[in-house]
Symmetry: C2
DNA sequence: GGCTCTCTTTAGACGAGACTAAAGCTCGCC
DNA sequence: GGCGAGCTTTAGTCTCGTCTAAAGAGAGCC
């Protein structure tokens, strides 16, 4: 068994390298919430364990083995998040903190049972894909709300779960995965977006809108809300 | 926050002192699964934290503060055990191992939600009482199956959860809390007991029967006359 | 080609917990 | 009342993961 600290490093490195390939030490440190020296230290340990390759002075990348562990942890995390919401009624801005700890301490048995209880789900409450048990994820890039043109319709597919405050705000506005939206207008120079949800219109700042992944709806009639 | 190791020591000491008052170092060590030296070490640390009183060469006892923590952990443990069984369908011989880890990593929020989902239960799957949130337990001594006389009836109230193997055996025999039993006969000199459950009769070794807590039923129909 | 700023790594230390080996108490037994 | 057996405690190490301070690499700029 690998210790929850190691698991969190692997998860952090995995997510960072999804976006930018090889990951600088300082990025790992920042992600995990630790000094650069501590990150260097752990990176060397991961390399010794065969979980990462360390390229001194130019970052880390996970090995196959490291990625596999990272995906297992992410699977745990997202299954737990969904379970907390669906089975225990957690609000979606609280599931991440709880899952962050539990992900390291559940058994395969527990994983399998909540997976079954949820009907073998494929996405978590924020729309993040749940890796399969054999370690594959379908994590393709989604267009953002900011990629839409005025007059276009879309369905929200994914929101960032990095900030509970923001999740609470989005929930208040009714902006969850599965919800159909219509972009009425957008101000120029990365200004705010005017977005309709049902029959109310919200004004969203550009940065916030850029964190919302959507699936475009080209058909004219209003897309049926999926939830 | 106290670290799961400290919590397990406190829980262990609490259970030992329930039975025998002040607890010898070696008993703590054995319970926690650690050498005597390690136990001494931790006991001193607990004393410094104000959680225990160390009487060198003559054992430990918990302070009020230590007992409070122990009871919180035990509450977590037993709620989790029951939740695993009731909500996720775990067999009762597997709940202890899972709860042993999770008990240290759930939030108060989680505790409250599973408590509510279970309808504020008072006993766990093995019949052990669940401490209340304010730190009180109703843990009175129950007579054992071995305290019954031939011809007496009783209801099983509690079994020991220390051994998964034994739990599996008891489950196979249908001997759970809540089940009514009838002691037909017992062999002398701590010999086996002949116990009826429903309309089948089982032969139980004395040691096994001594781990089963029962509530006597005096109101039942008079024992078959034996003259 | 060299300087300098920034990022990264090394060095040294610390706390939590564990272990082994050795020394120190207790207590029962003679 | 003294001895030895068996607990218990001390002493010294180890691993994991963290930190601060100092030293080392790299890359852009002159
Ligand atoms: Mn985590
Ligand atoms: Mn998520
Ligand atoms: Mn435990
Ligand atoms: Mn139990």
């Amino acid at each position: 068994m690998l210790g929850s600290v190691v698991e969190d490093y692997l998860k952090g490195i995995y997510k960072l390298q999804q976006e930018h390939g090889r990951v600088p030490t300082s990025a790992v440190a920042q992600r995990v919430g630790v000094t650069d020296a501590s990150a260097t230290n752990m990176i060397k340990r991961l390399a010794e364990l065969g979980l990462a390759r360390h390229h001194p002075y130019r970052g880390v990348e996970l090995t196959e083995a490291g990625e596999k562990v990272a995906l297992e942890v992410i699977r745990h995390h997202r299954l737990i998040e969904l379970y907390l919401k669906e089975a225990l009624g957690y609000p979606w801005d609280q599931v991440d903190a709880e899952a962050e700890r539990l992900e390291h301490h559940i058994s395969e048995e527990f994983e399998d049972r909540i997976d079954a209880a949820l009907g073998h789900p494929t996405v978590d409450p924020h729309g993040d894909p749940i890796p399969s048990k054999d370690g594959t994820v379908d994590d393709e890039y989604l267009p953002r709300l900011t990629d839409l043109q005025p007059g276009e319709r879309a369905v929200i597919r994914r929101v960032s779960d990095r900030d509970a405050e923001r999740l609470r705000y989005l929930a208040q506005l009714g902006l969850y995965p599965g919800v159909a939206v219509y972009l009425r207008e957008r101000a120029p120079f990365n200004g705010p977006l005017f977005v309709r949800v049902g029959d109310t219109e919200h004004v969203l700042g550009h940065d916030l809108a850029a964190t919302i992944g959507v699936e475009q709806r080209r058909d004219a009639e209003p897309a049926p809300a999926e939830r």
